[in-house]
């Protein structure tokens, strides 16, 4: 993109809170069921129904605010956002407007250039989700399912601090990590638990005022968010570069074609007629409660990361990778403590465990092997009781099916050949059977050693410790 324009991006993220029931009704939150199988009179907005606030939603929303360094307000007010749509049963959404739950936070992202930037968070507020409209192709009707109507959401609004599609992606990933870390949300974009709208504008470099922005809605994967923003930035640059003006609009994105389309031109701002909901009492959060929630938060990723590199002596990049999720950080740390050598455990986790997860496209939550079990496996390797290679071959199975490493090694007959006598015998046999290689080595060809090693490994069925084999070979060859 031309250097004359700066990209300005703000993201509005809606995130479903991980509660059992809805925000204002006791209907349970469910995903994928038949229409209207999880509704009460309140969800349907039947005449006479009234909302009652779910305490767990308050707790989780507060965690989301604290983990993004926001100021949690002791008083926040639920307000009605009035508009008509078939999936909005009351004809208004209960949200928060002038007095939201939290304001003034930030989170830190790694920039593509390699550095860190703080992205401001303007506000976080609570609101209820709408139901779903289902259109089938060719159907003259739309079906309305209110199972999702009333599910608790937090809306997290960033300052327009993001400067590139990549930063937007980094911000979303970080946000997702944090929300999952404190169990405020599962934040699975595919399940619609995390939704993102992007506000995009350009301005001449050096200009401080914001340009006219467009809003891209219904982005449901990190990749699409980046791709859509990229496409819109390019489009705006072309318009502005040609001397044109940007028209305010709401856009959608077709991922298959990588194309934006206009959903709605916005000539006038929508008039939602917000006012404090008279069916609800303002939300009062005492200092005590806020402190209680704060104290109950687990050690946050940044602190964990610092501790991993400080206390446990891990390299910065490794520490960063290990805090990608709390499940991973917890699992690693338990394994490290059980084993004793954090760096050693870290190497194995970063290389082998993550590879196994990636292969299955799984998250750490899918792992059934207890961290202590993993530590035990590593100790077997350390003690030479099984080769690293054998251990790796068992890792996938152990991780996802669980089990006792030692028992499995025995069961598969993978105990390393470390018995000195058996090993020496194997080495002698190989040397005896490969006189040519022995001679080459004596003549100065170091590669023959590798060949001989390979032969010993084969003879021992890969169960010998390579380091020991190399040692023995070298010793014997030297004697000859």
């Amino acid at each position: 993109m031309s250097a004359e324009f700066e990209t300005v991006i703000g993201l509005e993220v809606h995130c479903q809170l991980r509660t059992r029931t809805k925000l204002f009704s006791a209907a349970d939150v469910s995903y994928g069921d038949a229409p209207n199988h999880h509704v009460t009179a309140v969800c349907l907005a039947l005449p006479g129904a009234l909302p009652v606030l779910n305490d767990a939603a308050v707790e989780l929303a507060a965690r989301a605010a604290l983990v993004t360094h926001c100021k949690l307000h002791g008083l926040s007010v639920f307000a009605r956002k009035n508009y008509f749509y078939p999936d909005l049963p009351k004809g208004y959404q209960i949200s928060q407007y002038e007095e939201p739950l939290a304001t003034g936070g930030w989170l830190e992202i790694d920039t593509p250039a390699g550095g860190a930037r703080r992205i401001g968070i303007t506000r976080i507020h609570m609101e209820e989700d709408a139901g779903k409209s289902l259109h089938e192709a060719g159907d003259p009707e739309t079906q309305i399912d209110l199972n999702r109507a009333g599910v608790p959401l937090v809306e997290i609004v960033s300052e327009p601090d993001l400067r590139s599609p990549e930063e937007a992606g980094a911000y979303l990933r970080k946000l997702r990590q944090l929300l999952r870390w404190v169990e405020a949300s599962d934040a699975d974009m595919e399940k619609g638990q995390l939704r993102c709208d992007a506000n995009v504008s350009l301005r001449p470099r050096g200009e401080t005022r914001l340009g006219t922005r467009t809003e891209i809605k219904n982005l449901n994967s990190f990749r699409f968010v980046e791709a859509a923003i990229r496409a819109e930035v390019a489009r705006q640059a072309e318009v502005l570069g040609g001397g044109g003006r940007i028209q305010q609009a709401t856009l959608g994105f077709e991922p298959e074609r990588g194309r934006l389309f206009v959903m709605r031109l916005k000539e006038n701002a929508d008039d939602y007629r917000y006012f404090p909901d008279p069916d609800l009492i303002p939300l009062r959060l005492s200092e005590e409660r806020i402190e209680h929630i704060r104290a109950a938060l687990p050690e946050l990723p940044d602190e964990r990361e610092r501790r991993f590199s400080g206390e446990l002596g891990l390299a910065a990049a490794d520490a960063r990778t290990l805090v990608a999720s709390r499940a991973l950080a917890d699992w690693f740390e338990s394994a490290a403590r059980a084993h004793g050598n954090a760096k050693h455990v870290a190497n194995w986790v970063l290389r082998d465990v993550l590879a196994a997860l990636k292969e299955r496209d799984a998250e750490l939550e899918a792992v059934r092997l207890a961290p202590e079990g993993f530590a035990a496996l590593l100790r077997l390797v350390d003690a030479g009781r099984v080769t690293a290679r054998s251990a790796r071959s068992l890792l996938g199975e152990l991780l996802f099916a669980g089990g006792d490493p030692e028992a499995l090694v025995r069961e598969r007959g993978l105990e390393a050949v470390s018995d000195a006598g058996a090993l020496e015998a194997a080495v002698e046999e190989v040397l005896a059977a490969n006189a040519k290689a022995v001679a080459s080595f004596a003549a100065g060809d170091a590669k023959s050693l590798n060949f001989l090693m390979g032969q010993v490994m084969r003879r021992t069925g890969g169960k010998a410790d390579p380091a020991r084999v190399r040692e023995l070979l070298a010793e014997r060859l030297a004697r000859r």
């Binding site: 006479g48 129904a49 009234l50 009035n82 008509f84 078939p86 004809g91 007629r273 069916d279 609800l280």
Partner: protein, 487 residues
């Protein structure tokens, strides 16, 4: 035709003594209903079979020596905006034609648990918006005292049903006077409890911060019994007060000595108050003074702004509360046509709502809309705060405030319909109690040219018992509540 039913208290005693049965009471209700209601039009729906069955069940309980409460076996009526499971709820609106509620209002659940027998659902101004019951899509209810006149509103049907002796008790809702004003115009007792005292869960909302369900009866003592059955915290209503309901009947000592009554100075400023109303109310105050209460003048300087504040706040809340009537999940939907869902909403609501409801929705929408919110809605809520402060100050000087309920007695049907403000202005004495959330009761205090006059007693928040005590003390010393419509 049988005599009009006596008070709840008397009937409960007769039931307990075996002098009558619940079935007999319910049959008598229906006898009077059949005879009077075709002309009166107090009822929109009745549930004869179910009521008789419930009466029989009540009698069976009594035979076993079990009585659920003093209301066990007593026939009552509900305003058709208080939902009952399995029964229609129309709010006297076309847009809810055919709607059957799948759940009970908390008040209804409590009444049924108390053994009360609901005989039918009464007429109202559509969605409780009005003061004459002329805004009902089913046509008005007539005042039992004079069929050419309005019974008041919006709970006109419930007031008339009690005044005509069809039921000894009925329930209505009061947002700006909709229980107290029809009570005054029909010569019965009507009470609006402290805001939050009675659950609104199942009350079809008009203005959420002002609405309360309350009882109609012939006496304050009856109202105490009825209030006991329905009052108290409800976890389904976030605006419901946590305090459990006290024993209101126990508070009816008959003694008002030691109480100071405040007489509202600004009541005299009201032009439009007839001399007859003024006289009856003054006499009532004098009676209470004779009974031992002290009387002094109090001022609520912002009284005259009450109507304006009320109509801005109530219509704003109503415009939002009535957005759910869109024909999607229940109620009447317009026929399909061009223009997609937006046009369908517009036609559905245009066809389904009456003129007054539409006007109030428009006003409320305007009041909340961008650019006007601060000048209208916020301003009104600020004035509301000032009015509450007026009351706080006044209640430093007195324990209860007495004032007229309405400026005049029952007006003729059709008399007020053309002037948009005329009816609104008549609410001047009642809206303040809703704006401040105070308990208030209207009691008959005589006639003006043959038509009932009521006076109001307003109390501090949660002093419903005090208000009833004063009303009951008055009724022990007078007989105005015994007056019956000519018939």
């Amino acid at each position: 035709m049988s005599e009009p039913l006596e008070t709840v208290g008397e009937l409960a005693a007769r039931l307990a003594a075996g002098a009558t049965s619940a079935r007999a009471l319910v049959e008598r209700s229906f006898e009077r209903l059949d005879a009077l209601d075709p002309a009166l039009h107090a009822f929109l729906f009745t549930r004869r079979e179910a009521a008789l069955a419930e009466a029989d069940a009540s009698d069976a309980r009594r035979a076993r020596g079990e009585r659920r409460s003093p209301l066990d076996g007593i026939p009552v009526a509900l305003k058709d905006n208080i939902v009952q499971a399995g029964e229609p709820a129309s709010c006297a609106s076309r847009i809810l034609a055919g709607y059957v509620s799948p759940f009970d209002a908390t008040v209804v659940a409590r009444l049924r648990a108390a053994g009360a027998v609901i005989v039918g659902r009464t007429n109202l101004d559509e969605f409780a918006m009005g003061s004459s019951t002329e805004n009902s899509c089913a046509g008005p209810t007539r005042n039992p005292w004079d069929p050419s006149r309005s019974p008041g509103g919006s709970s006109g049907g419930s007031a008339a049903a009690v005044a005509a002796g069809i039921v000894p008790a009925a329930f209505g809702s009061d947002t700006g006077g909709s229980i107290r004003q029809p009570a005054a115009l029909c010569g019965v007792v009507g009470m609006k409890p402290t805001y939050g005292r009675v659950s609104r869960f199942g009350l079809i909302a008009f203005a959420s911060s002002l609405d309360q369900i309350g009882p109609f009866a012939r006496t304050a003592a009856d109202c105490a019994l009825l209030l006991e059955a329905i009052a108290g915290h409800d976890p389904h209503d976030s605006t419901s007060l946590p305090e459990p309901a006290p024993d209101f009947s126990r508070a009816l000592t008959g003694d008002v000595s030691g109480l100071t009554l405040g007489v509202l100075r600004e009541a005299d400023d009201q032009s439009g108050m007839t001399p007859g109303v003024h006289a009856r109310v003054s006499e009532a105050v004098a009676e209470l003074e004779r009974a031992g209460a002290k009387v002094r003048e109090v001022s609520l300087p912002h009284t005259r702004f009450g109507i304006a504040a009320y109509y801005l706040i109530a219509t704003a809340e109503a415009s939002s509360n009535l957005a759910r009537y869109d024909g999607v999940r229940y109620g009447r939907r317009a026929a399909d046509g061009a223009g997609g869902i937006t046009a369908l909403y517009e036609r559905t609501r245009a066809e389904g709502f009456g003129a007054e409801v539409k006007r109030r929705i428009l006003l409320g929408t305007y009041v909340l809309s961008a650019g006007y919110y601060d000048a209208y809605y916020r301003k009104a809520q600020q004035v509301r705060t000032l009015l509450r402060r007026d009351f706080d100050a006044a209640f430093e000087a007195c324990d209860a405030i007495v004032l007229p309920t309405t400026p005049e007695a029952a007006f003729r049907l059709g008399e007020k319909s053309s002037d948009p403000l005329a009816l609104y202005l008549a609410d001047v004495f009642t809206v303040s109690a809703n704006l401040a959330g105070l308990p208030g009761v209207s009691i008959p205090c005589g006639l003006d040219a043959g038509l009932p006059v009521g006076f109001q007693i307003l109390g501090r928040p949660l002093e419903d018992a005090t208000v009833l005590r004063i009303a009951d003390a008055y009724q022990r010393r007078t007989e105005h509540h015994l007056a019956r419509p000519p018939r």
